[in-house]
């Protein structure tokens, strides 16, 4: 048996040798600062490799020679040297090492490490920062707080998803989201659309439907004790492919042993308001130019006119005649015999629509522990109402984590988190029932709020009936409800088999059911016959980790630790969707009453095995070397390619120690470098071909069409995707260099990191010509690079006993480029309208579209017929959504118990596609169209049209004067380039400066507490998005239409707007 054992471990470990015993010494190690016991302290006999570590209560026992000296060392504390001098009990108290950066971080696979020892970049986020952000979705709470991380929300609707990217987008079509790990258990962070069948999720990319949540929203921010962001492969290699895009590692709150029960209650309340809306004109009425005259046309005149190119509202009058469309009366021209002298009202329907939303949170927790156990229980409740009527979100969370030392050195931890979440969702985006679509297009001469439904059930909307839904109709009648019931739990068994060996096994499960009812009421514009979709999503993640960690101090100067482990992961998602159309009566959303019912089923599953190992060597706390590797076997790759290995190495060098630099000016300096690879597997089921149940329709008839089984028969057609049985894993290789520097005894700290990540063999479904019979094909071919600089600066500017002022600044600059796609594939479209692309040689997600025709000097070429600039007959690149850089700037002031903190968030660059504006200008409701009557000469040169239709620029400057909005009967500039307008005109700079969050907290002093039953009391005020400075003309440019459900970025097409909020919170500890 021993032989086998040796085989197993000879490589990584030397077997300890028995030691001559002369005396047994025991004692307790405590912290000098607060007297608390310190578990896990290294106790080493100086000059030998003999040692032990303290147990959970800070006790140790060691056998030593009489004349030995003991070294007590622990992360964040000064090492203590104590001669034994014949004693048998030695209690030691360790002093905090203030000159050292002693941040303990949780790295991959739950391994704790001292940040000093790492050769790669890692960043912690303080739990209070998450809490004080005022965000209910802790993904959104990370905005601006971590260098290299970009967070985008999908708008301010309750429960809206937020998208997070660490060091940019690395995969073309696969997920670019990081892995979320809670207490060592990876959790699901999917966003599922409720729009249509599973295959349509792909094709529609969630451009319509309702606002959905990303499932990390289920984690109660109040339960978070600390949060670490792992960025590159050197940091994440042990997590394997699932952390190919980085990892967000969350440690939840736990109880501590030997402490009395601590009860904590927190309350928070905040009010949400819409933070930015597009500017709309309120002067011109609904209508169009008829025979050179802007003419009022509206539902009350029997027209379905969509546009507002009518006359000035002030030129119209209410008539002495009622109209069902306007409680103030029929609107007529001033010269109409029925006209009164009352001028019609004009409405800013958008501003009138939004209400104040609210968030209320209650959180109660109890924690504590006995000699051998510890416990933490919490219950949290969030109630959120949206800024749109009839929208809400609620979350109830229970968490229990208990830990017990069942027998000596064997600890079992059990944790369970039950969450119920969900709410009423509003419709969104490119969808005639979308709230913003009907709302913003409404003419200023029509008041949406004066009723949305007539007695016969038909709609009162600005175009008459149900062409575009009245936004009040859609929020009250077409809402979706969802309810998630989720359990995340794990069991962890940890055994300190020897002072140098820990064995841990952890089995986690994350499972939920998400039951949704999607409604389109009778007379809704999307489905006038009425529709109800019952959709059930069942997701199950099982994760098993086995870890062995070896720790050895070979000598006073030489530390070694190693971990080997095994991982098994299985994911199953099952979506059942029952689509019922043709409802028996309005408001009766019973699937059994629908006249046509279709059922579809979607399955995604994946299994993964991984074996991994890591070795860290520490020489004299100056040189650190880490070597790691993992091999994965994935079910989504063809059998012959399903095993893949990737390694990582990192080095760190504390050069201040080596060179003995110990001035108080330059107090610490470390250089680090790492190289690592991480693999990524394929999406589910792209290795083979097949047939799918047929669904016949076009882009104008979604969500309907002929959905088989239909016409009395079932039918199939070949899948649009051609499978590929030669796929292999994609690989991202990252090189990272960095330095951690501290000055003035650690009062100023600077972390600088440069990284260069190259993804090769990226798997993508390339579009192929439909004439080949299929539309997409999975290939391994793309190559993407992401290069960036991340900097984190911290400074304690003022620090005296009464007053402190600290700043923390995060800087991120990422440049990405698509080096290569596939043979013959110049681009891939990733958005629903073909405007956003991944194109070879360009940054990720460039905007591509129509633009003006320009001559070689860049001058617009003007149509000699109508004086309008010509459109270029070919499309091209018109924008880049990637920001130039981002800065998060935290300022914290503390005076006695009062703390004021604010985070300024700056984004420079990053174009946003404002499709909303293109349409609103075409419709004559955008504020820009107020210049409709201006006579202008478009700058440029005249073009000459050849007999073959070709256009040649001439040298003649344009001299044709036109009325810009065509209100004289001429061509309307705002409509000349189509419905969504020229793409070039809809790309805007999305730079911003915003006050991301502000908090003012007051902790009651102990003198005041003595009269109260509390051990701690704090009260605070918070504000989120207090101000936003941007040139962007639409809603908050941070929002993104598709949320987290796709790789689309910077996309604004009738998105729901974002919010700002003001709140209070109270925290009481008993």
């Amino acid at each position: 048996m021993k032989k086998i054992l040796l085989l197993c471990f000879a490589v990584v470990l030397s077997i300890p040798v028995a030691w001559a015993q002369e005396r047994v010494v025991s004692g307790k190690v405590t912290s000098e600062e607060d007297g608390s016991t310190l578990p896990g302290v290294n106790v080493l006999v100086k000059g030998t490799t003999t040692g032990t570590i303290t147990d959970f209560d800070g006790n140790y026992k060691i056998t030593v020679p009489d004349e030995a000296e003991l070294l007590f060392s622990f992360i964040g504390f000064l090492t203590e040297e104590v001669p034994v001098s014949g004693r048998s009990v030695i209690d030691v108290s360790l002093t905090t090492d203030i000159t050292q950066l002693s941040e303990v971080v949780v790295t991959a696979a739950g391994i704790e490490a001292n940040k000093r020892e790492l050769g790669y970049s890692i960043q912690n986020v303080n739990a209070d920062e998450v809490k004080n952000s005022g965000e209910n979705n802790f993904v959104a709470a990370l905005s601006g707080k971590v260098a290299g991380v970009q967070v985008t929300s999908s708008g301010g609707a309750p429960g809206a998803a937020a998208q997070i990217r660490i060091r940019g987008n690395k995969s073309v079509q696969g997920s670019n989201g990081p892995l979320f790990v809670v207490d060592g258990i990876p959790i699901d962070n999917s966003t599922f659309n409720t729009f249509d069948s599973p295959e349509d999720d792909v094709s529609s990319l969630g451009s319509g439907g309702v606002t959905n949540s990303n499932r990390a929203i289920d984690i109660n921010p109040e339960d978070v004790a600390s949060l670490t962001v792992l960025k590159g492969p050197a940091a994440t290699v042990l997590y394997g492919i699932r952390a190919a895009n980085g990892a967000v590692v969350i440690t939840t709150k736990k109880g501590s042993r030997n402490s009395a029960a601590k009860v904590k209650y927190s309350f928070g309340y905040s009010i949400d308001k819409v933070n930015k809306l597009p500017d709309l004109q309120t002067e011109y009425a609904q209508g169009s130019v008829q025979g050179g005259v802007p003419t009022f046309q509206a539902a009350m005149t029997g027209s379905t006119q969509s546009q507002s190119w009518g006359p000035l509202i002030s030129s119209l009058r209410y008539a002495n005649e009622s109209s069902v469309w306007d409680p103030n009366g029929l609107i007529v021209t001033a010269s109409d015999p029925r006209a009164t002298n009352r001028v019609p009202n004009s409405y800013n329907n958008a501003e009138d629509f939004f209400e104040n939303g609210s968030n209320m949170t209650h959180d109660l927790s109890v924690s504590g522990g006995t000699e051998k156990t510890s416990y933490f229980f919490s219950v949290g409740r969030l109630d959120q109402t949206g800024i749109m009527p009839n929208s809400d979100f609620a979350r109830t969370s229970f968490r229990a984590t208990t830990s017990a030392e069942l027998f000596t050195n064997f600890t079992a931890t059990l944790s369970a988190n039950y969450i119920q979440s969900g709410g009423k969702r509003v419709q969104n985006g490119s969808n005639t029932s979308g709230v913003m679509l009907g709302l913003l297009r409404t003419s200023p001469s029509f008041d949406n709020s004066a009723g949305y439904i007539f007695e016969d059930g038909s709609q009162r909307a600005y175009r008459g009936g149900s062409i575009y839904d009245n936004p009040y109709f859609t929020v009250n009648k077409n809402f979706t409800t969802d309810e998630v019931n989720r359990i995340i739990g794990y069991t962890q068994l940890s055994y300190d088999a020897a002072p140098w060996l820990n064995v841990t096994y952890r089995l986690g499960v994350d499972t939920y059911g998400d039951d949704r009812i999607f409604r389109n009421d009778v007379n809704s514009s999307s489905v006038p016959v009425g529709q109800v979709i019952n959709m059930t999503i069942r997701s199950k993640d099982i994760n098993s980790d086995f870890l062995m960690t070896f720790k050895r101090q070979f000598s006073e100067k030489f530390d070694f630790n190693a971990t080997v482990g095994h991982n098994y992961y299985k994911k199953d998602i099952h979506i059942n969707r029952i689509d019922g159309q043709g409802l028996a009566s309005p408001g009766f959303f019973n699937i059994a009453s629908a006249t046509a019912v279709n059922v579809s089923e979607g399955v995604t599953r994946r299994e993964l095995y991984g074996l991994f190992g890591t070795v860290t060597l520490n020489y004299d706390n100056q040189f650190f070397l880490n070597l790691s590797g993992r091999n994965d076997w994935s079910s989504t790759l063809p059998e012959e390619n399903n095993s893949f290995f990737y390694p990582a190495a990192s080095v760190g060098w504390d050069f201040t120690q080596t060179f003995g630099v110990s001035s108080s000016f330059f107090s610490y300096g470390k250089l680090r470098a790492s190289w690592g690879q991480v693999g990524n597997d394929a999406p589910f089921a792209v290795t083979n071909n097949g047939f799918v149940q047929s669904r016949v329709r076009d882009g104008w008839t979604t969500p309907q069409g002929v959905i088989f089984p239909a016409l009395g028969i079932n039918a199939f057609n070949p899948n649009s995707l051609l499978g590929n049985n030669e796929l292999k894993a994609e690989t991202t290789t990252t090189i990272e260099f960095g330095t951690d520097l501290q000055f003035f005894d650690g009062r100023i700290g600077l972390d600088l990191t440069y990284f260069n990540a190259t993804t090769t063999d990226a798997i993508l479904n390339i579009t192929i010509p439909s004439a080949s019979g299929w539309q997409q094909r999975a290939v391994n071919s793309a190559e993407l690079t992401n290069k960036g600089i991340e900097a984190a600066l911290t400074a304690s500017i003022i620090d005296n006993n009464a007053f402190t002022y600290d700043v923390a600044l995060n800087f991120t600059r990422i440049r990405n480029k698509v080096e290569k796609l596939a043979e013959g594939i110049p681009f891939i479209t990733i958005d629903p309208f073909g405007t956003q692309r991944i194109a070879e040689g360009e940054p990720f997600g460039i905007f591509f579209g129509s633009r003006f025709l320009r001559d070689e000097n860049g001058q617009m070429v003007i149509n000699p017929d109508d004086g309008m600039p010509f459109e270029d007959s070919t499309q091209g690149i018109v924008g880049d959504p990637n920001p130039d850089f981002q800065i998060g700037f935290r300022n914290t002031f503390s005076y006695k118990g009062i703390t004021l903190s604010f985070l300024l968030d700056i984004r420079e660059g990053g174009d946003v596609y404002n499709g909303t504006k293109g349409v609103l200008n075409n419709f004559g409701v955008g504020e820009e169209t107020l210049d409709r009557n201006e006579r202008v000469i478009f700058p440029g040169v005249l073009g000459e049209v050849g007999t073959d239709g070709s256009i040649t620029p001439t040298a003649t400057p344009n001299n044709i004067e036109v009325v810009k909005g065509g209100t004289d009967g001429g061509t309307n500039y705002y409509q000349n380039y189509g419905f969504v307008n020229l793409t070039e005109l809809t790309i805007e700079d999305g730079s911003w400066i915003r006050m991301r969050d502000v908090s003012l907290n007051y902790n009651l002093p102990s003198s005041a507490l003595s009269k109260l039953p509390f051990s701690a009391v704090s009260v605070g005020l918070t504000a989120r998005n207090l101000f936003l400075i941007t040139d962007y003309t639409g809603i908050d440019p941070e929002t993104n239409l598709t949320g987290d459900s796709s790789n689309v970025i910077g996309y604004d097409y009738f998105n729901n707007p974002n919010t700002k909020s003001y709140g209070v919170n109270v925290n009481l500890t008993f």
Binding site: M1, K2, I4, L5, S306, T432, I467, A498, S525, P528, M548, H566, A596, S600, V603, R606, L611, S635, N642, S643, F684, A685, N688, N689, G690, F691, V692, S694, V696, R697, D698, W700, T701, T702, Q704, G705, V706, I707, F708, A710, N714, A715, F716, N717, P769, S770, A771, G773, W774, R777, G834, D865, D866, D872, V945, G949, T971, N976, G978, F979
Partner: protein, 456 residues
Amino acid sequence: MKKIYKQLFILCFAFTMMTSCEFGDTNVDPAVPTDVAMSALLPSGEAALSWAIGGEMVRISGLLTQQFEGINAQQQDNYKYLIRDADMDGMWQRMYHNSLNTINVIIEKSQEQNAPHYEGVAKVLMAAGIGALTDAFGDVPYTDAFGGDEGNFSPTYDTQEQLYTNIIPGLLDDAIAKLSAAESAGGSPGSDDLIFGGNLDLWIAAAHSLKMRYTFQMAKRDAGAYDNALTMLPDVISSNGEDFEMEFGSGANETNPQYQFSQSRAGNIKMGEYFINAFTTDDTREALFINDIFELGEGANGYYTVSSAPVVLMSYVEVKFIEAESHLMKAAPDEAAAKVALDEAVNASFNKITGSVTPAAYQADLDARWTAAADKLEVLIDEKYIATYSQSIVVWNDYRRTGYPALDFVTGGTNAFNTNGEIPRRLPYPQEERLLNLANLPIKTPNLQTPVWWDE
């Protein structure tokens, strides 16, 4: 200590077991079968083809010939002749992927499984689809198309001349032969045939009628086409009851594409002024063609806009108009025969739409107009403009072939793709072809005034 070693041993053993991993069918999507029968593919092929032709193609033809007026969204642009290549991606994908690829798989399977009746049906459908595509776009891929599963991702184009003179008639001749086979060992279409319910004679008549259409359509290039078309008369569709059309259903998930467009995109189009004015007071079809359903999403029960309305792929009405025009325009014109066929065509239209014969007053008016007309072709096409409303892109083809009806161009029809502001002579190739198959694309820069081969 020994206990620990024992545990460690077990773990080491577990590790070494992990040398290879098999996952069984974990990576197979249970919702995506690897094979299905021809009878499960045929309904999909028929419905998808009918949807593409009866939906987007009818709409674009109607917008360009002012049967419809676009009043919102991209339909407004298209009505004003602003048709971008990206607007065509959908139509192209619906044709090549959703319908014709399915049909091509049926052809391949029918050959493997010795099922000539399925092969015949599939080839008629293929000819109808490729015919509609080439009339709209000119040169299109066929011979080299549908090869994605064999690694051909850049199909070459067949010229329209090839398609018209060789490929389409070849497909149809072959279809007729296969449909006439006495036996079809691999099976014959039955209830899975949503168009003719497995009636092979009707498929044969449809095949002959399509052959006639694609012969006749070449007349602008080849004056002999009229006489050639007339020789095909004995075998073509001989009554409304034999029309090659697909009936949709009234269930919410099986309704006709125009009806669905009116429901999900109400207010994007309305009936065109020219079309409304084309009806005389005696025309009992007007109430069934002209209604508000596109504009308002609700309204009278139009013939082609009720939920279960058929999509017509080839009709007796069209056959009769082809006969009439051929008699009128052939090398030795026969006006009398033309008039007889025209009357039959108009009567068939009234019968189809209203269930009654041509009203006497209407017939009298038609007779008078015929007699008075300087160009009898104009009278004929004006009648066809109404009678073939919502039948594929027949009306736009007629306009391009004859210049009738005498439409005015819409105002604001000048743009970078249509620089003279006249009615487009073709649709632009879809953007996906320009970007993914540029080398093979016959026209690299979109120009809507470049005529297709038969229109040159």
